[in-house]
């Protein structure tokens, strides 16, 4: 068995701004093999984006990061500022939710992509320009020569997201991190981008972590799903197993609350209550106050993520 491409062990991230420290990620362990797509599924505040951003060390100063993260054999927590600059983009790159905010408005897309290629590959501007053109063709942007000379405001959301993806794969990274890349897009464009990511992932053999709140999106792209709740992974498994046979009560609730299932019924089945305050987490299982199957033990002990069989694991006392 080869080493996993991404190996996160017992990661905790605490933000120390404001009066009370906020523990956004609370002991997450996740490994992603080479060429594997893992979807991190969760609601806002579940820690899915924070987990992913930790892999690029994108957190503000004063954030406490505990645990270990290894990507492609490198210990991410130990990298110096210079090593970090070499690592970002060349080993791991990221596609953000809002391409309009992630791209620089005062440079053309061509300039921005060329800059990244020159920085990491040390090639001439002419060579970088021809590679940028190749990338724009790869992500199927129509009339690529003209589009490279466009500023971000001149392009539609779908085109910008394609440009972001082109920039992300510009330096042949091993890992692609996608932070809700299709949430701001229309359904007809979303499916195009999902198919593009899937295609590039296969062609380049990328390891992908795909953060999403949409189970349907996860089902379209992922090999495995890890469901997060209040900073912890509560369930992990192969995509078909998690969707067809969810084990954790939260996953069950999330899948049960889908409107697709309510056809012919006049009400949706919902999870009562709201996610907990991360600055004041309950002592036991974070989902216990909303859980219909909670027992006394749930209120005192945090359940560990336990393997149920070779590929799946769940953090619930019912399966411990």
């Amino acid at each position: 068995m080869t080493d996993p491409m991404i190996d996160i062990r017992n990661l905790s991230v605490t933000f120390n701004r404001g009066r009370k420290p906020v523990k956004a990620v609370n002991g997450v362990s996740l490994s992603v093999n080479s060429g594997e797509v893992v979807a991190l599924l969760g609601e806002s505040g579940s820690g899915k984006s924070v987990t992913m951003r930790s892999l690029l060390r994108l957190h503000p100063k004063g954030t406490t990061i505990e645990g270990s993260m290894r990507v492609a054999g490198k210990d991410v927590t130990e990298l110096s500022a210079r090593e970090l600059a070499d690592y970002r983009g060349a080993t791991v790159s990221m596609v953000f939710q809002e391409p309009r905010l992630a791209l620089d408005p005062v440079y053309t897309l061509g300039q921005q992509i060329e800059e990244a290629i020159i920085r990491h590959k040390g090639v001439s501007r002419r060579e970088a320009a021809s590679r940028a053109l190749g990338l724009f063709e790869k992500v199927r942007i129509p009339s690529p020569e003209r589009r490279l000379m466009n500023y971000p405001h001149e392009m539609s959301g779908g085109m910008l997201q394609r440009s972001m993806i082109a920039m992300a794969i510009a330096c042949n990274p091993k890992v692609l991190l996608a932070d809700e890349p299709t949430t701001a897009l229309d359904a007809t464009v979303q499916i195009q981008i999902l198919l593009l990511i899937r295609e590039l992932q296969k062609e380049y053999g990328l390891s992908v972590i795909f953060v999403t709140h949409d189970i349907g999106v996860a089902a379209e792209v992922a090999d495995r799903i890890a469901v997060m709740y209040a900073g912890r992974i509560v369930e992990e498994g192969k995509v078909a197993d998690v969707i067809q046979n969810p084990k954790h009560p939260y996953t069950k609730g999330l899948l049960g609350a889908r409107v697709e299932l309510a056809h012919g019924r006049d009400r949706l089945i919902t999870i009562p209550g709201a996610p907990p305050d991360l600055a004041a987490l309950p002592p036991g299982c974070a989902f216990a106050p909303r859980c219909g199957e909670a027992v006394a033990q749930c209120l005192t002990d945090v359940p560990r993520l336990t393997a149920t069989d070779g590929t799946a694991s769940v953090a619930c006392v019912k399966y411990a």
Binding site: D186, A187, T188, V189, I191, L195, E220, A240, E260, T270
Partner: protein, 353 residues
Amino acid sequence: MINLVGEPTHHLPVGERGGPAQPLISVKGLLKHFPVKGSGFLKPKKVVHAVDGVDFDILKGETLGVVGESGCGKSTTARLLMQLIAPDRGEILFDGETVGETLPLSEYRRQVQMVFQDSYASLNPRLTIEESIAFAPRVHGVPAPKAIARAHDLLHRVGLEPVRFAGRYPHELSGGQRQRVNIARALALEPRLVILDEAVSALDKSVEAQVLNLLLDLKRDFGLTYLFISHDLNVVRFMCERVMVMYLGKVAEIGERDAIFEETRHPYSSALLASMPKMDPGERTLEPPLSGDPPNPIDPPAGCRFHTRCSFAEDVCRQTLPPLTRISGAQSAACLMATPNSGHSRAPAQLEA
């Protein structure tokens, strides 16, 4: 004072003036073009064809869903209905009366309320929740104590305990709670039509389900009619009795839910349906149903607006703007393939009886 305009309907109670069979809202030829900045002087004048001649009815007590990509005019339609912006052309009949003519605007606005997508931006950050909800009734002349009492009733009704929430400010609430406040505020004037413009889109799935259930309960209890705008077809299928599909400022297809979802007659509606992610990883989408982004509404294609992305397009589609044609009692579509004798090779030969 002499009443020059005869208004014989005024002795009837509100709600019965147009008769029971009258649609609550009937929109005819609604059109709004926005001028583009920097065009017009020494340059050709450009306009955004946001809503380009739209006709539809909202029946009493129904939920009409509006779907389409961004830029198709769904939000502009909502804002025109709400009279937040003035239409360039077209009229709106509310319960048989023309809005702005026989039905004064203040009276109309009392009966039509709106809930927006951004729950935070639509509340005044300096007003407490109860002040926000009581604001509109006070403007309309309800005494303050009565308005506050009603605000508390409504808060209770939308699932927020008045004792805990009435005195709070918007920033102290979660997104789901704020959207409940917005719904309560919309109901404060006892409206008959509520326009929900992507009202649940910004919420997490588990919270979204709670708010959808609340909307269904309120509709039943207050006898409301909804115009439900959303990009999520699954939610629209669950919430709406009838669905309108819009594309680049035009109605592509309108009809009863089951007709639209199961016997789609417009290729755009089918592509939209096929674009929804599949829940079964064994049956993943292999080819994108539509390529490219929607065309720019500043310069919409001639003929059928959809012909540039349509796989059935023929020469006739580039020249003829398809009229919205009734296909059955339940459904109308604006596609030459559904229009008899349109010249399209797939067009039906004649009207079905």
